[in-house]
Subunit: 357 residues, 2 copies
């Protein structure tokens, strides 16, 4: 089988041929076809004067896993980051670092997946770069991908910021927690089960929310670090208390059982196609309905609410309102467990699952 060699990274004839035969074959569009060092693209088709920019590198192993591959993941991760600012993703760049020995057929499948996912998300790959490094991944090489996304804000769209989170807001999660984490770990352990990664672009549900007039105060995709890490950050940044109802948090039976056996907590497991939305309390039911009717949102649920720390002080655990190291913020993340107790949650400490994304 043809494999990647160091010559494919030379910048000379072999690099050109690889770009022509693999990348241009799947990703061609009028912008990428310019084939210059930088690509000229239109600046503000949505009428806004502002851009949303994000960058993300993907190092997931194995690069093929149940339900997806690193190519699909690299598009989803960056698209979702753009979406979470309330912007419409339009352009993406693709920087690949290939290890010597990577089967070219694998690269082709990954690039085809980038193309399919970009099409699904309605965006164009406008610039690319290829480098080759020595092989460290065994007989077949590995692949690392960086994607950088550019989106355009809707005209007069409100900024989504943690400081907009208010007491009375509701917390909605768009689906089951932990699927991607469990899929990657299960594949590494060579366990046969039905768990597949949730890697997906969340354009449908975010567009539905943003175009509905619902008062969305903050959005975040729930990736590395899991739901607890994201909501802890929201609580600290907004100086509010976020209280979750454990039995409202959706986790599939398969992941629940897998996590139970391994002693993992789905609240700290990574996802790649899930978001958490903080919306005004009165709009929560409508927001939930819109998400549930969108692709990838069928298992969405309202899982908690936001309150002001001072109002709760009588009932809160004594340290809950004073968790922040600086002693300034009075936010906290609290889990009301299914047996009725309360537990203060911090961010993920330690390694998590290495190379999960």
């Amino acid at each position: 089988m043809d494999k990647i060699t160091m010559a494919h990274g030379s910048g000379g004839e072999e690099t050109s041929r690889l770009i022509r035969d693999i990348f241009a074959k799947y990703l061609n569009n009028p912008y990428l076809d310019q084939m210059e060092d930088s690509t000229i693209v239109p600046g503000n088709p949505e009428g806004s004067k502002e851009l949303a920019v994000t960058t993300d590198s993907f190092v997931v192993t194995p690069y093929f896993y149940p339900g997806g591959n690193i190519g699909r993941l690299a598009v989803c991760g960056t698209v979702n980051d753009i979406l979470m600012s309330g912007a419409i993703p339009r352009f993406i760049t693709l920087g690949v670092i290939l290890e010597e020995g990577l089967p070219i057929a694998d690269l082709e499948k990954i690039v085809a997946s980038v193309a399919d996912t970009a099409r699904e998300a309605g965006l164009l790959v406008v610039a690319g770069d290829t480098k080759v490094v020595e092989n460290h991944s065994g007989p077949d090489g590995g692949i690392l991908i960086n994607t950088t996304g550019i989106g355009f804000l809707r005209k007069d769209s409100p900024r989504l910021l943690s400081s907009s989170i208010r007491a009375g807001d509701k917390v909605i999660v768009s689906g089951c927690m932990g699927d991607h984490h469990a899929a990657i770990l299960g594949r590494r352990m060579q366990i046969n089960n039905d768990i597949v990664s949730d890697n997906a672009p969340l354009c449908g549900m975010v567009n539905a929310l943003m175009n509905s007039g619902i008062r969305v105060h903050e959005l975040r995709d729930v990736t590395r670090g899991g739901l607890a890490t994201v909501l802890h950050e929201f609580a600290m940044a907004s100086s509010r208390v976020i209280t979750l109802e454990e039995d409202a948090i959706p986790v599939s039976a398969a992941v629940q059982s897998f996590a139970g056996i391994l002693g993992l907590d789905p609240l700290y497991m990574g996802n790649e196609g899930k978001l958490v939305a903080i919306v005004a309390g009165e709009d929560a039911e409508l927001a939930l309905e819109l998400i549930r009717n969108s692709p990838y949102g069928e298992a969405a649920a309202i899982i908690g609410e936001v309150s002001d720390p001072l109002e709760r002080e009588a009932s809160a655990p004594p340290d809950a309102a004073h968790e922040d190291e600086q002693g300034v913020s009075r936010g906290a993340l609290i889990l009301r467990t299914w047996i009725g107790g309360e537990r203060v949650l911090g961010p993920l400490y330690g390694e998590g699952l290495p190379r999960i994304c």
Copy 2:
């Protein structure tokens, strides 16, 4: 000495601390300080409706080398790609993949260098990402960097395209060939000499050219693959003959001698702070003067000219005008050697120098 661990890539508390203590310390600005998944930036400060976008990954080893490091290189490479489209670079993203074991003091030097070089080039780092992978580089880990750049076209700025290249145009190179290649290779071979990398942002000379009214037809930074690979691509894309005068091409005495000993050809050696400009013949002397008076341009020279293949057919070598594989393009790159002969040059074949950038 403190080193990078897998926990720094978890997306949890250790990742946050690394971002706060190293990245935010050097790169802070009002955009990056938003600390959201994507960053909102202004869209078109130059009044143009178009953006220039480029992406580049950097895998150079060693990551510290004479005259620079991977951080400076990562900014220069992307800034220069944006400049070569005639746009003004404004924003850059920084995706780092760290190997376990990388000394944190080394990371700090690299990030400081990113900040210094960005400041020199007049641009802001607006988004970042950190991942950690296993160590494959010996006792201390390595680092890979992706930078993606966004620039804004000047209002009514002409597009710089290879198809704009005309007979009568002159070829100007902004300085000596081969410095970066020789610096990296010399360092790997542990040779002590005075050769340092040319890694530099070329904002000064490009702005001088673009603001002068000079008819610039094409610009390209001369990186991997070297001058011959770039000019061969120009010749093919424009269907023109480009003839170089060997004795006009600037190469420092130290690099000439280093290349001679190793059997390397400076025309195929990589650079990281040199450009080649194709300008209208009548404007060439003024363009040369502007480049020579800019930072990093003191050794610039006019090194050749463009002609129509049909006009040259009598004197050209028989295969010169028919070099392209497709048989359609009639462009060619010809070197007139210092002893008066003519040699047809192709693009770089083979490996070049692995991990040069």
